[in-house]
Subunit: 160 residues, 2 copies
């Protein structure tokens, strides 16, 4: 790779957070698109329901940013809720929490290698990227569930 291009900086912390919150808005719309009775009951291929996947995303996002910021890791524990409104309430509570906590990550902590949640050994940045990519991955699976239910998923490119 040409030296100049290799080392060019493309993504700032602010851009990474903006990208994540954009994805979180799309995932929220995907949760909303599920009928109440399907969110925690319907799945394809013996996989988890989309409600369970969303509980994983919630269990990861807030505690992850807290862990990267402070080096103190909670045990990973999926949220346990039974209704769409309760799930969306937890989701919405994390939005301002991420806005507040992310900027408090001391820059060196993005590169510090921790055992995240006591189990995944990687840098803070790698863990944050993993969480975002994991969200995109599972949301894509939610799209298949919605299509199987005859429901049009929200447009993938809309993040507002």
């Amino acid at each position: 790779m040409a030296i100049e291009t290799i080392s060019v900086n493309l993504v700032t912390a602010d851009a990474l957070l903006r990208n994540w919150q954009g994805h979180r808005r799309l995932t929220r719309k995907t949760i909303e698109a599920f009928p109440e009775d399907k969110l925690f009951q319907f799945s394809v291929g013996g996989m988890r329901t989309f409600g369970e996947m969303a509980q994983e995303l919630i269990a990861m996002a807030g505690p992850l940013v807290e862990g990267v910021a402070t080096g103190k890791w909670a045990t990973y524990e999926p949220a346990k809720v039974a209704t769409k409104s309760e799930l969306l309430r937890l989701w919405d509570a994390q939005t301002p929490q991420l806005e507040e906590k992310f900027p408090q990550i001391p820059p060196p902590r993005f590169w510090a290698v921790d055992k995240a949640f006591g189990q995944w050994e990687m840098s803070g940045l790698a863990m944050i990227q993993y969480a975002i990519e994991n969200e995109i991955h599972h949301r894509g699976q939610g799209y298949v569930y919605l299509r199987s239910l005859g429901i049009e998923p929200p447009p993938f490119w809309e993040r507002n």
Copy 2:
């Protein structure tokens, strides 16, 4: 966001390319996991087959990097192949092509706004990120197809 954290640079061009190639290795394993007769015939919920999705990814990756590097955009046209080996051959041909072309992107081109493929108006960086996220999204859908076929998908966290 604290000024210091807002502006900290997290992802270089090199790291972005490394991340993409890691995802491409996982997507390749996902293609490989499909039985020949299911890759272009099986889908869930009336969606496209995973073979068709992979053709979209191929149509995007190489020409996208070429377009970002040069400002010259080809018309978007999905690859047309009918067999797994032919699909993997196209996939593998793009791996060294990306390694060669990506480093030739002049740094200002990451921020230049083009009409990518004559239709999507965004910066080169946004288009590259979109392509990677689109790949993660569709690969997640391929995982549902595989599970529906009773096949274990490759581990999401393995990128080697």
